[in-house]
Amino acid sequence: MSQSTAKTGGHETSFLSNRRTDKWWVEPILTGLGFLCFVVYTTWAMFQANHYWYDPYLSPLYSPVLMVDPSVPGAAPLKHAWFGLWPDWWPKFLPSSPAMLILLGPLSFRTTCYYYRKFYYRSYFMTPPGCGVTGVPQKKYNGETKLFLFQNLHRYTFYIAVCYIVLLAYDAFISFFRHGEFGVGVGSLVLTLNVVLLSCYTFGCHAWRHLVGGRKDCFSCTAGHEHLSHKGWSKVSILNKHHMFWAWVSMVWVGFTDFYVRMVSMGVWTDLNTWGGH
């Protein structure tokens, strides 16, 4: 390794040194705080273990409901739970929260997403915190080899995320039916928008873009499939171009959807809907 670059040219080499005159630190700080807020909120919401259901709305943080403790206020009805009642052996110090069982899926998807990686390598790991800003000194920088090799399994978290999209789409669908009667409430719209935003984020994924066609050197060389792979790849590319945007709006909206269901379930907000009463 050459040592030729140190300090010549008026460049410092100490941590955070730079000669930028713009506010380069605003972005890493805002995104760092923004994500932290989301993590704090979802953790809090998960430990609440209540008010995640208001007929017929289910909070996305609690979907799918694997098991349910119907005695808590705002719990989903028993028939919505895949495996029935909450088990007795569940340790007492943990809340009987259906969210605890399922949040790892979406979390693993987001934490291995190429966009989130960019953002947390900058904001939290500071490798580097900004462009032209000296990053955290390291004995031997290894990037995404070694410790971060697991990032290469991102495509598997994508498969999981697609399952969640299907489940949330189902939740959104049933949010239009209360006791079998079709209707529309603000909650139905909130839940529906949630699926749409999450889909725009999920189907703009780089791993998906690769699988759908990007892995090919030539779209037109395999007879029969030419249109499919090129069309698919181009469509995914449109979403992929704004992947960061979808990442943020979908994340904020998931949080808000939970908050909305929580508020109407607690009776703090009134859900405007066509069913009336309730």
Binding site: S4, G9, R19, T21, Y121, T127, C131, N152, S220
Partner: protein, 249 residues
């Protein structure tokens, strides 16, 4: 536009200092014009590299107020009136003199890359490919080799891993070859090991500074990383290759 003050790095690999110069700046001037005016009026021996003054030759890369930029494309009216403008050579390559760095390491990286190896011609003696199949790699051909991306990439800049990573410019050169519809060479093993795709942590500074607006990370490096995953890290694909060794190399 009035008088403007510049802090310009003067020196060579053995050391140096910032020198301040004040010059009159006219409307429409770019930073490179100012450097030339400083040369003409105050410092005849100030070294800088340039050629086209049109953002197309990639020679005039510098760091202006800490940002890697083409000096011929950095307009003076983008700065505040009282702003002192700091001009430095690019950091990641050895300094020759003043604002000129020795970028020859980059040419060595290029030589490491296996060249284009087209498939045999069609029976009528032609090579045919469709526009939609080459479109993707055309983006990468816009590169003017200014090496601003190489300079800003923290793998080379902070960590000096020049022995392990060819840098973003050559990652997109690799992408342009790997995604080429006619090419038959397989560079994936070297992209993983020798060229160091795993060292890039996709923090996107290369994309941010590219004057040609090439989506280096999204369209070049990440797709290459995904190809490396398919070859080396995907357990299901690994299994499929074990069961059907011929079809999937």
């Amino acid at each position: 536009m009035g008088k403007r003050t510049f802090r310009v790095w003067r020196g060579d690999k053995d050391g140096g200092r910032f020198e301040e110069y004040s010059i009159d700046v006219d409307q429409g001037m770019v930073v490179l014009d100012c450097i030339h005016r400083i040369q003409a009026l105050h410092a005849n021996d100030l070294a800088c590299r340039w050629n086209c003054k049109a953002g197309k030759c990639g020679s005039c890369s510098m760091e202006i107020n800490g940002k890697p930029r083409l000096s011929c494309m950095t307009r003076m009216n983008t700065f505040k009136d009282d702003e002192v403008i700091t001009v430095q050579p690019i950091k990641s390559f050895p300094l020759i003199k003043d604002l000129v760095a020795d970028v020859s390491w980059n040419y060595e990286q290029n030589k490491k890359i296996a060249p284009f190896k087209p498939r045999p011609k069609d029976s009528d003696g032609n090579w045919r490919m469709r526009q939609r199949d080459v479109e993707r790699v055309q983006e990468f051909r816009k590169c003017i080799e200014c090496y601003l991306c190489q300079n800003v990439c923290h793998v080379l800049r902070d960590h000096d891993r020049k022995d392990q990573f060819v840098g973003p410019r050559f990652m997109i050169r690799l992408a342009s070859l790997e995604m080429h519809p006619l090419d038959t060479e397989d560079r994936i093993p070297k992209i993983k090991d020798e060229y160091g795709a795993g060292l890039c942590n996709i923090t996107k500074c290369c994309t941010q500074v590219c004057p040609e607006h090439i989506q280096i990370t999204d369209n070049g490096i990440i797709p290459l990383k995904e190809r490396v995953v398919s070859r080396y890290y995907d357990p299901i694909l690994w299994l499929i290759r074990k069961i059907f060794p011929k079809k999937n190399k």
